[in-house]
Every structure is written in C-alpha cells, then in structure tokens.
Amino acid sequence: MSRLCNKTPSICKDEPLSDGEIDRKITLLRQIVSSCYGPRGRLKQVHNNVGSQIQTTSTSAVLLRAIQTSEPLLKLLIVSLQNHIQRYSDCGLFAAILCLGLVENAKQLNSRTRVVVSVYRHLQELCNAYLMGQECKCKIKIDFSSCQELLVVARSTIISKPVCGLNPAETFHISTLVMKAFLQTIPTNPSDSVRLGRTVMVALEGEAVEKSAVLPGVLIDMPEIFPSEAVEKFESSPCRVAVFNASLSGDLSEIGKTALEIHHGADLEANILDKLLKLGEQMTKDGVKLVMCQRVIHPVLQQYLREHGIMVVERFGIALLDPIIYVTGAQAMATLHTPVPSEAYGQVAALRRDHFGSRPMLHLIPCGSPVVSTMVLCHRNETMLNELKLACERAMHVLRLTLKEPYALLGAGCTEAHLAAYVRHMSQKTLGASAALGCNPSDILQVTDAFCQSLETVAMALQHNGGHSLIDLMYGHHWTSPSAEDMHTDTPQSCGCGLISNSAASQWVHLNTRYPDFCPVPPTNSASHICVLDSFLAKVNALNVAIEMANLLLEIKYSIRDVN
C-alpha cells in the first residue's frame, strides 16, 4: 500500500494527564455524568446533525454510546464502562463519577503516582473485604420468603430514571409487574439444572401506564387476514403445535453457492411443492392445529392447511423462536425433507386473541407453569416508553443478579457515605502498612482523604435541587437537608435509604467537610423501613472497575498519537 501524502510525525505527549486540555475534558465528562445521576437528575437530549433519532435519556448505556470523544484516554475509560454496563446493566454512572473523581483528586496531590496507585489498590482491597464480609453494616440480606426487598430493589432501579415520567402509583404498578415477571421466570419443578426462563417485552405507545401487564406465554402479532373464528375454537382446549425454523417457501436458499444443474424434464418447483404438500398431509393426519414458521410459508401450503382447519403463523422471527420453543415444548424442525417425528410436536393449553390498543395479538398460553412470560409495557409517548423499556430490562437483570448473591446495598448515597466513614476510620489503624506500600504515613493519609472525598462526591451528586448533603456521626448514612442553616431543626425524617430515622441519630455535619473520626455502628431498625436498595454485585463490580481504571489512567506517562 502506498501513501498519498507523506506521513506527518506523531504527536507525542509526556504526562498527558497534566495537560490542561485533557483536564477540561475530564471535568466536562464528570459534569455530564454527575448531572444525570439519581432520581432528580437532569436529562440529556442526544441528537446528531444528520437527522437520526433524537433520544432523551439519563441512562448511562445510551449516554456513553452517544458521547463521541477524540481523546484516547477518555475513550479507554468509556469502553471499560460500557463493558461493565453490558455485564451488569447497573451502576454505570456511579462507576464513571467515582473514576473521574479519583483521577481529579489524585492529580491535586503532590505524591508520586506509584504511591497513589499503591494506596488506592490497598483501599480497594479494604473496601472489598468489608463489603464481602459478614460484618458489613451497609448491606442487607435479601429474604426470598417475602417479596418486600425484591420490590424495593426493582422500584429503586426504575425510579432512578426520571425520563420515565411515572407518578408513585405507576411506579408501584411497574415495579410489581417487573417482580412478577422475574418470579415467573424461575421454574417451579426442581431438577438438577435450573434454567431461568425469559421475559419478552412488547412496547405499546399511546396507552396509559396502568394498562401494562404481565401475561404468561407468548404474544405474537396477528396479521389482519387471520380468521378470528379459527382462534375461538381453541380458547379453552389444548392444541398441538408444529414449529419450523427452516424456510417453507419452496425457495432453495439453504444451498448457498452450489450450482444446480437442472436436466431436461425436471421441474424443481413442482417437486418442492409436492414435498411441502406431503408435509402438510402428514401434519393434518397427526392432528396438528397450529403450524408456526420462523420464515415464510408457501401460499399453496398455507391455503391447504387452512382448508383443513389448521392455523398458520409465519414470519414470527428469530427473536421469538426460543420463547416459542420454551412455551410449546416443541423441537424446531430444520428441514422439510423428512417427516416430522412425533416427539417434535409441542402443545399449548389454549390460544386467545387479545387486543392491546389497536394491535391484535395472538396469545399462546402454555401448559403447566410457564417460565416464559410477556410483559406488555404501555406509556404515553415514545421517549418515555423507550426509557421505561430500558429501565425494566435493567430491573430484571438486577433481580436476576440477586439470585447469584442474595444481598443488596443501601441506596441513595448511604453506602458511599458509610464506606467513606469506614475507610477514614480504618486508615488510622492501617498506617503500619506504610512500609509495605513504600511510602510514609502522611502520604497514606492524604491519598485516603482523596479516596474518601471521591466517594462522598458520588453521594453529593444526587443533589440537583440545591439541597445539602449531610452525614450523621453515628451510623454514617447520607441525609438531605433543604437548607444549610438550621440543620438540627430542619432535618428530614429519615436518611436517604430510609433505614435510620432522625430520632435515632443525634449529630449531623456537611458531607464535604472534615468530620471527627468515628466507627459507624450497625443500625438498630429492622430492614422493613428501607425504601432504596442498590444491586450488590453491580455496585461492587462498578467500584472495582472505577478504581482500576483510575489507576490505569494515572499510570499513563506517555501518549503517542498518529495523525495520518
């Protein structure tokens, strides 16, 4: 390959983080993500200048995808955050704010990078040990015998996205639906290997939120020419189903690039049609009542099947293939050349025709207890509906994560404030590790202070309406006060997560000030007062990813950038 113009020398930058331009970009990114954080966060409208879809959102998954940056350091960070969100769906904004806060605070210190990175790593291990340990006072064990805590987790995830525009009753309704759908994906018959089911989301624009529902089984869009009388026959009786994922249209798409030599007298189309009709005959004889094909069915075959009282559904698409196989218990036939074996047939308990708004849908009701359900989400307009769909998917994922680790962390900034207080308290005790870390005690104290300030910044990022963040000096929870003066007379009824009431705590200070060292005590209230809970696995992973990315960014000492 030859060049059209000479190679211009690469741009080499020593200590890229000390560059003012990159500083400004980091601050800007932190402001963008901080302003979206929490239920009172500000919204962002994403659109480009070539007329693509406008999105209004405060979800990190959408925002990070939309942020185009030319700075390679920030690109590195955004890719890592996107990887985290892909795995855990939650706490993306938390990781972003924490990581950028750690980087900014570290730069303001005078210490060497190696010292900062070693102490951050040490504190990361301290936080992990505390959060994973039994003595952690900011995590709640989820009681699976009642749905209270699961409901709180689902509600906290949905309420953190203000674009959804839900009032409290609607929020409660949607959270209940999410939890119901989640519980339905857990199979009831115990066996050695438990496989969770699926929830299919169907979005309906223009209806009220209260019309959202969770239905067992699968909903398929019904074509207009579908005879409704045919469905009525099966509203209460089980019917046999055959499912095909091969194409029944008579086209030879599966042969690929092979050449076909057709000899004189051979009529390929007639042969194939003959085969299709033989298949139809066999299915009629076997008493099949519903034939479903992922791809297209030949019109002649469709006509034949309808004449014999069999319902035909074609082109339902690959997205619904797995749910339909689950619901019916059928095995998808991959070929039309062999007769369908009897064990490949499936069964549904009933078929029903439902109307959702103006959309007619065919409802397949499974036999037995279903692990596949459909959630029909309704909302007034497209923007809110898209955001609600994302929020529900996130909530479902978060609930699934609780099956792996049955814990939840206190939300609304209480975990961050509590962890900061704990780390400050433990740093006094771990000054003895200074020799092992290769630095002096004053370095450890300074870097620990920077670390805790970053955690506190995350909690304070929840304030968007001029409120003040406070911390109580007994439990270490996060409180919000509307005014700075009269702190003691004007305190709210309970802390952010709802666990501590203001009668239990006695002293509060502002979160971003120096407060006397104290060891947070375990709360005495029962967990029933909690109203905001975060996902344990997602938050712990986000904490670790944030600290590791901050360490990586701080260690970059040289940057070489090709221009052409």
């Binding site: 590195l76 890592s80 855990y88 092979t258 042969n271 070929t335 062999t338 990813v545 000492k557």
Partner: protein
Amino acid sequence: MADGGHVRSTLAVVSALESVVLRSFGPSGGLVLFTRDSGEVLLTRHGQKILRSLHVEHPICRMVLDCIQAHCTMAADGSKSFLILLASLLRRIHAQSKTCRDISNTRARQLANQLLHLCHNGLDDVILRQVTPCVSSLYMSGYHGDILEGLVGGYVAGRVAICQVEVLTRVICQFFWKWHMGQAMAKTVRYIHRNFPFLHSTVSGLPIGQSCVQEGLLLGCDWTVFFENCSKEPIRVLILINNEFAIDDAVSVFDNCIYDSHAIGRRLCMCVEELDVFVLLSPVKCPDILLQWAIQKQVCVAECVEPPLLDLLSQLSQSQAATVGRVTMVTSVSYAVLGGHRLACVGLIPSYPYGNSEHLLHPHTLLLCAPGPGPLDQCASVCEGVFTMLYSVFEAEHTVTALNQSLNSHTDQSEEMSHNPASYSPMKSKNTVPVSAPAPDQWHWLLCAGRVVPVGGVFEVLLHHFLLSSDWLAEPQVRSILTESVLDLPRMLHFHKPRLFVQFQASLLNKLRFGPSHQPCSGALESVSCKQQLLVSVLQCVCKLLSVDHILHTHTPVNTLLHTTKTTHSDKEDED
C-alpha cells in the same frame, strides 16, 4: 559528514528512543498509550511492543530496532534495558573519543571493537567464575520465598500497571503448578510456551482480581447445545475436521429425483450416531439438521472452535481416528460462567502428550479479566512473555551446564557439596543427562547455582566490582566504560532518589566483604543468563552502529508518469 559527527548523530537518535521508553522503565514506570489513525488503541509498558509500534524512518533507528528485535526473540526480556545500556555506552564512548579531535570516529570504533573483544574473551569467565558463585553464596540460604514467584514477579513488575502485578503473579504461578504434575519442569514450561495462545481465555469488563485458573480446556465459545452429564465415567467426544461439511460444486436435479439439500447433514448424523458419542466439536458452523438431531439425541455440540485448539485437544487426550473426524475421551463437560459470559469447558485427565512417561501434564486454562480491551491485551501478552522468559532460562541452563563442566574447578564443587549435598546432585546429573533430572525443586536449584539473582542491580554492582579488579581482561579505559555503563541501569531505577542507589551499592559491597547478613530476604528475581545475553547483544549492536561511516539516502521517484497518463486517458474519454 564531519568526522565524529556520526557518533554524535547516532547518540542523538538513540537518546530519542531512550526517552520514549524511559518513562515506563522499572517497577514504578508508567504506561504508554498509542493511538493509531484508525482509532486502534494500545496501552502497554512492554518495551518490545512500544518499539514495534513506532513508525521510524531514520536508518540508524531502524538498525537499533532490528537489533532489539533479534535480542528479544532469543531472550524475551530486556528491550528497555537494551536501549538504556546502549545509550549509556554510546555516551561514554563519545565522551572518550571527543578528546581525539581529528580521528574521533576511528577512536570510537576502536573502543567499540575492544569492548566486543572483552565480551567474547573473558566476560563469560568473570560471570561464571566470580559473579555466579558470589551470588550463590550470598543468597542461597538467605533467600526465603518461592523462586518461581520471584522470577515471575520480577518479569511482570516491569511490564504491567502497578495494580495488576500481584494478581497476575499469583495467577501465573498457580497456573504453572496446576499444569505441572511430573518431574520435568523444563518440559512443562516448554509445552505451555508453545501452546499458550490456546491455553488462555480473556474476559472483558470485569476487574483484574477475578482472573483465575480453570480446570480443563476452555473452548473459547459457548455450547450451542448443552446437556448435563453427571456420570463419573469418561465421556466420548467426536472432533470433526473441516472437510466433513464440504459440499459438491454442482448438484444435478433429474426428473424424478427430488433435490434434498440436507442429505450431507443427515449422512453425518447417521455416522455420528454409530460412533455413540456424547459431545460433538466442530471447527465450523454445523448445519441446522445436525443441531436438531443433537437436541433430539441429547448430544452436546460446540461450533466454531478454532482448529489449532482442536488439534491441541486431540494431542492432549490422545485421540484416535474414526470414520468421521477423531474420537477421544474426556472427564467432564461443563461451562465456566464469568460475569454473564459463558464459555464451554472440557475436562481432561492428566496425560502424557509426548508418550514420555516422565512428562505428565494436567491441562488447565488461564482466565484473564480486565476492565477494558487495552489492559486485557497487556495482561495476555505479559503472561505469554513470562513463559517465553522461563523457557529461555531453562534453555540457557543447558548450554551453561555444558560450559560449566569444563570451567568448574574442584574447590567449587567440594564447597557446594558440603554446603548442600541434596541440591548438588541434580547439577551433576544435569551434566550427563540434560533433559530432566529427578530434582525435588529445580527452581531452588537455580538459586543455589547462582543462576538467578534479586532485582534492583545486584548483578550490575557485582559485575562492576569484579570487572574493575580483573586487570588481565582489557585496558582500564575500556573496562571503566563498560562498568560505568552497566551501573547506569540500576541508577535509572532510582532516578527519583539517587541516594537510595548509593546506599544499596554500599550495603551489597559490605555483604561481599563480610559475608552474607542473616537477614532473610525475598522478592523479585531475574535470570543471570538473560542479563549476560543482554550485555553481549548490546556490545554487538554498538559495534555495528559505529562501524557505519556514511549514510547514503537513495530517492525513488514517485511514479508520477503513471498518474499523468491515466488523467490524459480520462480526459480523452470525456472529449469523446
């Protein structure tokens, strides 16, 4: 070109290269971030990767990079040290030769030749007869800690971010010990080094602390069809070869014959059923009919597995050829779930892949996690480099032992025998059978023989001390150039606090004079043979660079004639 200008310009070029790698030198060095114009990002501290990614045009620069590449192919270590040592030698040679005004270039070349002569005649002797025994006596009893961990930690510390060092060291050592079941550690290292691309898997989006070692081989993809198998008996596996799915170029359709596009798939299903297997592994996407049959017969299927990995699996489990593909036995089929990402896993019994009863291996896979693809690449390449380095250490031992045989004096032998008879016998047996010795711990043997040394400049300080006192080797001027340049390496490690280096040097020389202190020490280690090889390579490079007299730039004209004829043709067409 003015005489003497060549040395100066060479020095300028090498200093520029040095400044690029200096930032990432040593355990407290930083990372270098590369961004290509295509948007591809590379984040690394690995010297070789940094230098390979630079676009350089200066011919001297290219020569230097070629020399480094050749050195790293052999030793897998020391590309940054190479540049620092090279720059420091050139500086000293330039300083010495500047004094001879008119013939400074000649003088420089002369010095370089003398240095190379010293290297070929006598340096080996000094290292083997003075430095190595000294190291052995200083650290044999005083070093506490795992030797393997020290070697791995020393290598990894200079090549990854500070926060990744502990985790990676622990995981790599765990990986080695899980593989190694027999006695021949060298063979285990060689096997892992040769097959490393298939013995590790990477998962992005998780913190580094989640890296672990998984038993069995990970297939790099998920099961397409999976059924649990709880029986304890070995499971039959069929490994398909690519040409099973080859279809004919053309298919004929006759009057009465109905074209069946799935005939091949069905034939395959019948063959597979005859073989009575529970698992099917295929290098390509299987036809739908095969998958349908697998679901019916409850057979596990994994598609799109890399062919070299399938070969490795065949070799490790000693498969046999069958009517289609190869059949083998495995202990278990399962999957590894890491943060929502599922990978198929096949358990294997410990086996003898070369049919050699001494060489027993228990296959495991290294699972590496990192927050993003940049740090992930870095981890994977460093892990690969660790095994290359260990392999080169063992390879060097074979040649050194042969040399040792001729150079070793009786007094040395009796000294070591009385001190530690158990560890001496492997060395003796190694002289006769270089392949493997029934040593209880070959790593410990390396320390006792003085072949590994703690990092931080121990080797450099000892070499400096012994070279200065070896008057018979070369002129004092030549010796001082080499010894002072060699000391520049540990000085660079402590550049932020030079006092620390001086203290370190003083304490080491003290130990030399008064015997080893009884303070136990532990920490990172490095191989003496790698250091020796580095010296030789750098001195050869210096000679090569300074043997250049003139640089002639040739200019190939850009083929503008072709461009102009093309444009005239298109003009003509327009006119028509």
